[in-house]
Symmetry: C2
Subunit: 316 residues, 2 copies
């Protein structure tokens, strides 16, 4: 099959490679579209190796058609969206059955491929882990980003009050259109002061840089979840401050979860989020689709920062 591989000088190039063989409980999917994620750039640069035993090929989500159901009860020809530990940038990928999702009604393969990672990430953290409810105020950092735009819509659907940070007036405008109630320009304003003691939940992508500010923003019995480390890995934690708020800090990543855990999250996400996608309550924007062989161009675009919404690679 054709697949994308990383060359010695860290470029993405189309190669010929053996079609994956199936292990027990896996199906072979003919990929029609594969989502591009920021983590893919890290992996291409050699900083984010796949979990042990998983495909070396880049690509954390895709949509396509079952080519070989293996030992499962699935049917050849069934359209599916897939959460992957790797392998999406290819014509075929082997997928554990628990990581298959239906294509949301009315969604194209590209739209389905684009929504898997963000939907499972946001729901597993905000919904399953912290139990966001309509009484809560949630602070979403990077509200205009891929994770952020999805999280705003989900939190508003739940009925929570939503505060966001973003880096420009235009981006805050996007957040407002999606329903965000409190708009904070992180280049000009201090979110910690504005949200002091007000946030029952925080979805953080900055890590160390925002640790103490998030603690200031946290309300009594608040829970912050860190899913990105864009602002560094190590930070000073004032445990006295955490204790005085009876606060909780979690940090999570989706990719390293074992298959049982992923299956649990996939099932819960489909049960809680898929109807919202089908009804258009949550919309997820595709910035551009490119053919698989232009994977390098897609990465260059994402690195440039000009992308708003998702990039998707299509496989013909």
């Amino acid at each position: 099959m054709k697949a994308i591989s990383v060359t010695d000088d860290k470029k993405l190039a189309l190669i010929d490679t053996p079609t994956p063989t199936l292990n027990e409980g896996e199906v072979l999917v003919r990929v029609h579209a594969a989502g591009v994620n920021r983590a893919d750039i890290l992996q291409a640069a050699g900083h984010y190796p796949p979990p042990e035993g998983e495909s070396e090929i880049i690509g954390l989500e895709c949509a396509g058609i079952i080519e070989d159901p293996g030992t499962t009860n699935r049917s050849k020809g069934e359209p599916v969206a897939c959460l992957l530990a790797g392998g999406g940038y290819a014509e075929y990928v082997a997928v554990p059955e628990g990581q298959l999702m239906p294509i949301p009604q009315g969604y194209s393969f590209a739209e389905a491929a684009a929504v898997v990672e963000v939907a499972t990430t946001v729901w597993s953290n905000i919904g399953m882990l912290t139990g966001l409810s309509k009484e809560h105020t949630i602070l979403i950092h990077g509200g205009a980003g891929g994770i952020g735009t999805f999280a705003i819509q989900m939190a508003k659907h739940i009925g929570a009050t939503v505060a966001v940070t973003a880096g420009s007036v235009e981006k805050l405008q996007t957040c407002a259109q999606l329903g965000a109630d409190i708009l904070i320009n992180y280049r000009e304003q201090d979110f910690a002061e504005i949200m002091k003691n007000k946030c029952d939940r925080i979805l953080d992508i900055m890590g160390a840089k925002y640790l103490d500010g998030n603690l200031t923003a946290l309300a009594m019995d608040g829970h912050m979840v860190i899913i990105g480390l864009q602002g560094g890995v190590k930070g000073e934690l004032n445990i006295g401050k955490l204790l005085s708020k009876r606060g909780t800090i979690s940090a999570t990543a989706l990719r390293a979860r074992d298959r049982a855990d992923k299956a649990r999250i996939v099932a819960d996400t489909v049960a809680n989020i898929w109807n919202l996608l089908e009804e258009g309550v949550i919309r997820h924007h595709i910035h551009a689709t490119l053919p698989l062989e232009e994977a390098q161009k897609a990465h260059d675009m994402l690195k440039s920062g000009e992308v708003t919404g998702k990039l998707v690679l299509t496989v013909s």
Copy 2:
């Protein structure tokens, strides 16, 4: 009434002071016994003021008899144990109804007064907050202390594997007799290395000093709860390490909780722990009882470090 007050030179002395008046939903309790806690020493030194609106008198737990049921449906003469925000070192104390507990069958007033703080603290953290189960391994720091001895017994009753730290062979022996499975002398051994990646739950009382070690000891999806800051308030948090384990850190304190929250914890503790006290599954050791007027002596004893088990003040 008689009560203990802190003199200008920070000594405890018996004084005459007005009997408390009742607010809506409070009962007046004639105190027979009041437990002595480490936090009381802090408060006597001026470092731990009571929450707003609560009694200035020291004392976080007591047992006695209802003298005046106020507007509640309780009866005069009913024996009760009480979780207090303050006021225990006195002849009478006003107690919100939600903070009243029955005296465990077979318990004296002194035994009941001695068990309230530790039972609610341990259960609210290990049971309610982290949901300890028999599949878990829990690390309990200070296993031979008041909190520790109780926590070991509770965790073993649940069926968990229990590791403890303590500062001497004798103290570890005490922990082993209570059922602890893994004994670590913190003066000679490195708990973080011994328990590396093994602890699903950690009950910490050291704060900053043990933050990184606890993170090393944490297992995948582990949850540590910090309830004491004996080793300092501020420490470096490696968020990348936390994320790679999908870990959670909580820090809590019982005293500052509002009345509704305390009532919820009191009810849950009675429902889950009181039968274990009555059946002798969990035992809580009283080191000595002293008359109320010797409160200063009790504090001196506790400060000396010679106390193993609880000190209780009795009111005649």
